[in-house]
Symmetry: C2
Amino acid sequence: MNTRFYNARILDKDFQIIQGELHVVGNRIAYIGPEKTQDAYGENAWDREIDVKENLLIPGFKDAHTHSAMTFLRSFADDLPLLDWLNKQIFPMEAKLVPEDVYHLSKLAILEYLTSGITSNFDMYFYPEQIAKASVDCGFRTVLVSPMNDFSSSPREMEEDYIKYNAYDPLIRYCLGFHAEYTTSQDRLKEVARLAQKYQAPVFTHNSETEAEVRQCIERNGVTPTQYLDKLGVWEYGGGGYHCVYMTQEDLDIFKRRKLYVVTNPGSNTKLASGIAPVQKMLDLGIPVAVGTDGPASNNCLDMFREMFLVTGLAKLREKDASAVGADQVLKMAVSEGARCCGLDDCDCLAEGKLADLVMIDLHRPNMQPENNLVKNLVYSGSKENVKLTMVNGSILYEDGLFSIGEDPEEIYAKANEIIRKYRA
Amino acid sequence: MNTRFYNARILDKDFQIIQGELHVVGNRIAYIGPEKTQDAYGENAWDREIDVKENLLIPGFKDAHTHSAMTFLRSFADDLPLLDWLNKQIFPMEAKLVPEDVYHLSKLAILEYLTSGITSNFDMYFYPEQIAKASVDCGFRTVLVSPMNDFSSSPREMEEDYIKYNAYDPLIRYCLGFHAEYTTSQDRLKEVARLAQKYQAPVFTHNSETEAEVRQCIERNGVTPTQYLDKLGVWEYGGGGYHCVYMTQEDLDIFKRRKLYVVTNPGSNTKLASGIAPVQKMLDLGIPVAVGTDGPASNNCLDMFREMFLVTGLAKLREKDASAVGADQVLKMAVSEGARCCGLDDCDCLAEGKLADLVMIDLHRPNMQPENNLVKNLVYSGSKENVKLTMVNGSILYEDGLFSIGEDPEEIYAKANEIIRKYRA
């Protein structure tokens, strides 16, 4: 597919807005710049020529931490204390999951990502084969990360998956990872460190999400999760932590020294009453921060607009300072830092040669007017209503509310409802 | 306009979901119940018969505190400390406002309300004539509330407006009010109390929005704003306070005793770093709580979905309890309490005889699936993408992304941009 976007405003690689055209040839951006006559490409060069009507093209959002297939547990159990929620509601239902269901449930999440302008996800869940297949079948980009813990998967399986899924499809990558310190034995963690060493690869995990998690780790190991994992050598080649709500100065110093990514999940941390991450402090220290939705059981939606507002809003509340974490910074986190966190450096901005993962933002909507500042409009008042088109890897998967992912959404909805009915029975 | 909605799911007056039909005759709901053949009404009874396709009809959201015409300052100045923002950016621009501009800027806000399923607002701003005209011209429902302070309007003008706008149009009401304790002299406040007495009318004002406001009131008057205003008698016949973030036990007791409404504004309180209101405690005490967006300069959007998530999410964070302020409660606040707060008891739920202010929620979207719990889906993962139709007073003003408000939205956008350009020059 070759697509010419003309009459566009474009968020360029420096996050400045320019006027002109953006050309996609195959799966990459071939041109960004002033109006260019079609002659340069010869006749019939374009499959589609799209009049952007002065709307805004931006790089796709990267959902840097999620559990896609947990769509089946959206609104299944909420408004419960955390441990009741997890132990009595979530875990027993997850135990019923079969691989085929993960395929359908991941597809439901992909539909939702597309409505929010999310063009790739960093997905930690069981049954990588089904997740990868769902993404490839839809044309969606996914970086898998191992959810290994003491009860599922194993270091050997992770290594096999690492090799398999890094050669599976151009839309798929695979990262080393594990669920969390509190669910993974020291022996297994040492194996993770060995794999990181062997493949010179980054490692990702849930880290310091709740106060109790940190306290219990200190009781068990004498140090915080960050310090414990660092000592075991899992982050020798980088990686990062999801959540990172409760971080000591020493923890932050480790993240800074090792160039580890924080993936902040404000929607989930809010709804589960976990707390507010010290994002302003992280940025002040130069720690890279990406943004994730977490899974739909805890959030409950997969919406980067909600997350962006919460990143800045909660930082302002935490710091008691309305100037904390500005809109420009948040947008870069949701786009560029997210890309680099997932190892998708080729999707980190709109520039010639980069992969064509992009979104057309509808500015002809009341929440985007007047145009005092388009980036602030996006971060502070943007919503899914503004996502007019989502392109992944050069293919338009979502446009004007309709999906092109190879299956009727109604079938996917029906399957999701069938799955949860079956598990409830 | 007579409209028959069939094949619908309907949130009934007890907030239970029933299957069937909803009939609108003129501006009121004539029937809610099981399928009903058209014969009962005779031939050509309906101007429109709408197949709801198993989507959900809910009462419209009530934006119980806003400053609509501040749309011109959306994203004009953000990420600034509160006092710099207000004194250096907002006030100087507001001083440039002329009445005609308020008309166009209010219309821009109305477009945005409609996209979020908001069917009425409680609007505190200057130039009531222009606000009322904008609402009536669009077919939108507005309750005006006086923004009087020492620098604008006067008790006499408020009384004249009270009489005028309560007889202006069925879509318009007018409430007594004033900007805030800290901008209004005791003499003027006593005049407000006199008017409340004379008309046996409720009074609304900004109240205890920031820590500094409360501290300074105590320095001036020896008591909190709530206690000070109560002693002056402004709430003899009810009313309420916007924001109410910093409330002592005695303040809350006054609200409870006087049956005053709290209108919580979590988006604005977050973005301006004001703090988190004790909403769970208010509910525990039986204080009625409604929800408002505040104006688009501080929020920056007019989106009840964002507000609903923040009401529950911030309560969960504040209480460190994921079970705080459940989804059912939030929805009732945004709908029924909001209606009663504004004196719109006739719009508080979907029932026969009530005014036809309603919204069709599109459930055929990924964020609404699966259907584990429709109310939780709405509050925790709902967004403007789910607003398929917004009806005010029996007229469909918004449907499938298009507006029927008597003016091309592009003209309204152009005027808003023209106004801010003029002020900036």
